[in-house]
């Protein structure tokens, strides 16, 4: 197990470098210099000040030198200062946003897996019945619904028509004065819509995946043996089949991370939630290069960590991998 873990960790190093190189290349291939953008918004900046800025950001140096200094600073968790008027360190800006996005996405993930796994099992166990067909239709609709449209419809229904739920932000005005319980309840109400939208995004794919895994497992010989022994259908499905059908789903946990983080741009913008997605969107619109580069790298890094966790839990769950016979 330890050697597997070590090998897996070593594999991450070239990937990390690749991530920084692609981020760097993507940003620097863009026409125009970052400083030009900042200057364009403020015509009062003199040529001298412009030169000072270029030096400050190291833009007067050759590209490979810029890359090396950028990576070296990043290793110390220094992503530079934001180009936005507040001019704060990018690290600080991201730090205050990450908890929001991460906790939102983790709750969404739990909800998603909690719903998708039973749905997939149900569909597989009752294969080709009306129930399975109904679930299949739901799954196909789920694949096709644009999340931002779903968000709009839910906002209209629950926010505008019924006015049950707030449609933007994390807290109501004046929530600072609320009692802790009421404060939490207020936040929960704000979170219902965004989390439902985030979870719905991949619910369809996941439940479909679970269904086909389950069907694959049910066909195997050991399940026939279990049935032949006279075990009840319940025991066969939930004790014998489920464990093996769940294995591949674990890997999907890691893979669904980039989608969730990417999707957070959409629902955070729509619901005005101060998370990383919204920060990224604002950064992109203002061409705040240090911020955009920082979030790209961190987003990819989080995915890498997600994949690592998925692989480790897979190895923990599957002795065939744990003992190194792939």
């Amino acid at each position: 197990m330890l050697s597997y873990l070590l090998k897996r960790l070593l594999m991450m190093i070239p990937l990390l470098f690749g991530i920084t190189i692609i981020t760097f290349v993507v940003i620097h291939l863009a026409p125009g210099e970052p400083v030009e953008m900042q200057v364009a918004m403020n015509p009062k900046v003199s040529a001298q000040a412009r030169q000072r800025m270029r030096e400050f950001y190291g833009l007067d140096k050759p590209l490979h030198v810029q890359y090396v200094t950028w990576v070296a600073r990043m290793a110390k968790l220094d992503f530079g200062r934001s180009f936005a008027p507040d001019n704060r360190p990018v690290t600080d800006k991201i730090k205050e946003r990450i908890p929001v996005t991460l906790s939102l996405n983790i709750i969404a993930l739990i909800l998603e897996f909690g719903l998708a796994i039973p749905i997939g099992i149900l569909a597989a166990v009752h294969r080709d019945t009306l129930l399975d067909k109904g679930i299949t239709i739901f799954v196909f609709l789920g694949f096709a619904v644009p999340t931002f449209w779903l968000a709009l419809l839910l906002m209209y229904l629950f926010g505008v028509k019924l006015s049950w739920l707030p449609i933007s932000g994390l807290h109501s005005l004046g929530s600072e004065g609320f009692s802790p319980f009421r404060w939490l309840w207020d936040m929960a109400k704000h979170l219902i819509l965004p989390i439902s939208v985030a979870a719905f995004g991949s619910l369809a794919g996941l439940s479909r995946y679970m269904r086909s895994n389950m069907l694959d497992v049910i066909r195997q010989d050991y399940i026939i043996t279990a049935r032949a022994k006279g075990l009840s259908e319940r025991t066969v499905i939930y004790r014998h089949a489920l464990r093996n059908a769940l294995l591949p789903v674990i890997t999907l946990l890691g893979f669904s991370l980039p989608g969730l983080i990417g999707g957070s741009v959409i629902f955070e913008t729509i619901f005005a939630i101060p998370g990383m997605g919204q920060l990224f969107y604002m950064g992109v619109m203002a061409r705040d290069y240090p911020l955009v580069m920082g979030i790209l790298v961190i987003g990819a890094f989080l995915t890498l960590v997600g994949n690592l966790l998925a692989d480790i839990s897979y190895a923990l769950a599957d002795p065939r991998i744990r003992h190194g016979q792939r």
Partner: protein, 284 residues
């Protein structure tokens, strides 16, 4: 040769026809093409004609989907938007399939360090939240529908590359490839003439599903205001005004979204249908 390929299509069609959902998906996709080509003849309105007297009208017999905040006919704009969406879907997927196929072919055929380098590159690209990457690049370029198609294509080829590579790895070992090599065929001829045609069927499936994905991405970008720019109508940017007027005009949000839903659903049904037909063991 001729005989076998017509036989293949016959069997394909016979099996495909039995899948009612897939046929329905195919029909809707065809209809959408006809609709977007004939758009100017179907509706009496100009998609950009501003009409200050008929602002935000609910659906009626004159304006089937109502009018928007500038008095433009929403039905007309949705039909004209179909053209943009289909174009983006096709070009973006075309680019992705081209890149993915070439990389997959080279990677699978040559193996060794070439394969290693390409597959690590795929791994790296898959780490990025795709939507972040697309947003970052598109916002830096001037707004143009061509950039959108290219960027969606450039960030969407990795799945195809993996698929093609896996196919090539198994085809490479087949006897007929060995026979071709024994006959003195060049690498290029073996790759494109003998391996590629047999590796394409999973690509066809993923391309069909990819069109659906590209349409969704484009509509999300346009919705955020960095995709197709107004006044050119696209389903995404009609929904942007839908969001702004959500309290007064539900039709602005409902219809373009339904258009996306139906289009994406049809492509998905079609793609899954092709998959089931090509490989009946899968999907069931």
């Amino acid at each position: 040769m001729r005989l076998t390929s017509t036989y293949f299509y016959e069997v394909f069609w016979k099996r495909f026809r039995r899948n009612r959902f897939a046929v329905a998906g195919g029909v809707v996709v065809l209809l959408l093409f006809v609709l977007s080509l004939l758009a100017p003849y179907i509706t009496p309105f100009d998609p950009d004609a501003i009409d200050a007297y008929n602002v935000l009208l609910p659906p009626s017999s004159a304006h089937w989907f109502g009018t928007d905040e500038l008095g433009r006919d929403v039905f007309t704009r949705v039909i004209f938007g179909a053209k943009i969406s289909l174009k983006v879907g096709f070009v973006a997927v075309g680019i992705a399939v081209l890149i993915g196929t070439v990389i997959g072919l080279v990677s699978g055929f040559y193996g060794g360090w070439i394969d290693d380098v390409f597959m690590r590159f795929v791994d790296i690209m898959l780490c990025f939240p795709t939507f972040f990457l697309i947003l970052a690049v598109i916002a830096m370029l001037e707004p143009s529908i061509w950039y959108i198609m290219i960027i969606i294509g450039l960030t969407g080829w990795m799945g195809v590359a993996r698929l093609v590579r896996a196919e090539v790895l198994s085809i490479r070992e087949l006897d007929y490839v060995m026979a071709a090599r024994a006959l003195g065929a060049s690498d290029l001829r073996i790759i494109f003439r003998h391996i590629l045609p047999n590796a394409m069927s999973p690509v066809l499936v993923s391309a069909t599903l990819g069109v659906a994905g590209a349409i969704l991405t484009e509509s999300a970008l346009s919705f955020l205001g960095i995709g197709v720019q107004p006044p050119t109508p696209s389903w995404g940017n009609i929904l942007t005004s839908g969001k702004d007027y959500i309290e007064f005009a539900w039709w602005l949000s409902l219809f373009p979204g339904l258009a996306i839903l139906v289009t994406v659903l049809s492509y998905n049904l079609l793609g899954e249908g092709i998959r089931d037909t090509l490989d009946p063991r899968l999907g069931r």
